[in-house]
């Protein structure tokens, strides 16, 4: 196992999620590898930092506020427009060429701005800690300086392996390479990602979905996805089964023929 493979293992070690054999392997590796010991210490530090966050206080009257919304009736929920672009659907349906000429209403996003960061200098770990083990005293401190966010010059293996993201914006995940066949690409899609099959799939998505230009696909809500017209289908793959079993209200969808060309 190389360092990359050990990293997932070490995070799971911290969480007490390894079986005895894996745990023994991870601990044995930590005994031998200074780099992984330093990495494990950093994982512990992040764990501690979140654990030390002050608990959130539920606002007074929260339960009453839920009941008030409930008693106002479903009409309050239905009045919320989840998708402001829906109003364009009828216009697009009867004057497709004109709308295409006018342009597509898309989510405006900034250009990709990948922050790459070098790993902080490793701090020596005095030992290893696992969930359920005796908790050490929290005497550590963090040296605070003013917050500056400057991309580092290089990209280490760990940062390169991490999905790129634009600050708080949607993530561009690692996807299979261009030479992967369509089936492999489908398997590489994230959860709740679906392919829409059919001759007019792309046009239907453009009419009914919200285009995400960062990820080059469409977000479609569950209700709309359940009302596909004749000629379009999501297929019967494991992805669809997973989507059906999930309770997410939006799916990320690409047209299958467009996906095959990626």
């Amino acid at each position: 196992m190389n360092h990359e493979e050990y990293r997932d293992l070490l995070s799971a070690l911290l969480d007490g999620e390894l079986d005895e054999a894996q745990r023994a392997s991870a601990l044995a590796h930590l005994d031998e590898c200074e780099e992984c010991r330093a990495y494990y210490a950093e994982l512990c530090a992040v764990h501690d930092a979140i654990a030390e966050l002050e608990p959130e206080t539920v606002p007074a009257g929260f339960a009453e506020s839920v009941m008030a919304r409930l008693l106002e009736g479903e009409k309050v929920v239905k009045l919320k427009k989840r998708s402001p672009w829906r109003g364009w659907t009828a216009l697009a349906a009867c004057a497709a060429v004109v709308v295409l000429a006018v342009g597509v209403t898309q989510n405006s996003r900034k250009s990709a701005n990948t922050n790459t960061m070098e790993m902080a200098p490793a701090a020596p770990a005095a030992g290893y800690r696992e969930e359920g083990a005796e908790e050490p005293s929290t005497g550590g401190s963090m040296l605070m300086q003013s917050m500056t966010m400057a991309p580092a010059g290089g990209v280490n293996d760990a940062a390169a392996d991490l999905a790129e993201y634009e600050g708080n914006e949607s993530v561009v995940m690692t996807v299979p390479t261009a030479d992967a066949n369509p089936a492999e690409k489908a398997e590489g899609l994230r959860e709740a990602e679906l392919l829409l099959y059919g001759e007019d799939a792309e046009f239907w998505l453009w009419n009914h979905g919200e285009y995400d230009d960062a990820e080059q696909g469409y977000w479609v809500d569950r209700e709309t996805l359940s009302e596909l017209p004749e000629g379009l289908s999501l297929g019967t793959s494991e992805l669809v089964a997973r989507w059906n079993a999930s309770e997410r209200s939006f799916a990320f969808v690409r047209a299958a023929d467009a996906e095959a060309q990626r």
């Binding site: 005095a126 500056t148 400057a150 600050g167």
Partner: protein, 196 residues
Amino acid sequence: MDEIELIRACREGSETAFEELIRMHESKVYSLCRRMCRDEDNALEAAQDTFLAVWRGIGSFREDSTFSTWLYRLATNACLDLLRREKKHSGGVSLDDEDVHIDLPDPAPQPEEAIERSETQRMVREALYALPDGYREVLLLRESEQLSYQEIAEATGLELGTVKSRINRARLALKNYLAASGNFFEFSTSKAAKKQ
């Protein structure tokens, strides 16, 4: 009434039972929503949405399932939906955006330790908000809500392997964020781990 009895009563339309069910679980739902959403109003709305989804879906909840896992699923969905809507309306927020609101420290005199702790809290929260939503989701379910990997997989619909790697990557991203911002961790010798 215990939780099962409350759920049954809710199924029969008891608003009193539902309100009691809210009070029983409001703390964990609000906590998760607050740490998922940068904006306090959004957190409140997502938490309310979560319980409204409970009310709407309680009829289909199977008693042999774990209610809290289902509740977390609804909460994460509510947060992700709301965050997606917010991004669509606002055009997204970048760490480089001059309009990003950063809470300033309280100007009232405070002991140095209190200031440092307050700054630490703020930095860690900002680092969490900077994570992609899907990474923040699994990390908070693990670190804040103490769910097992299996429970996180059930709540999010992700594969177990994906949960494991996302948690690892989220921790790494958080660490890199805090390191790149000029702050770094110092380990106390008293934090020595115990090798078993």
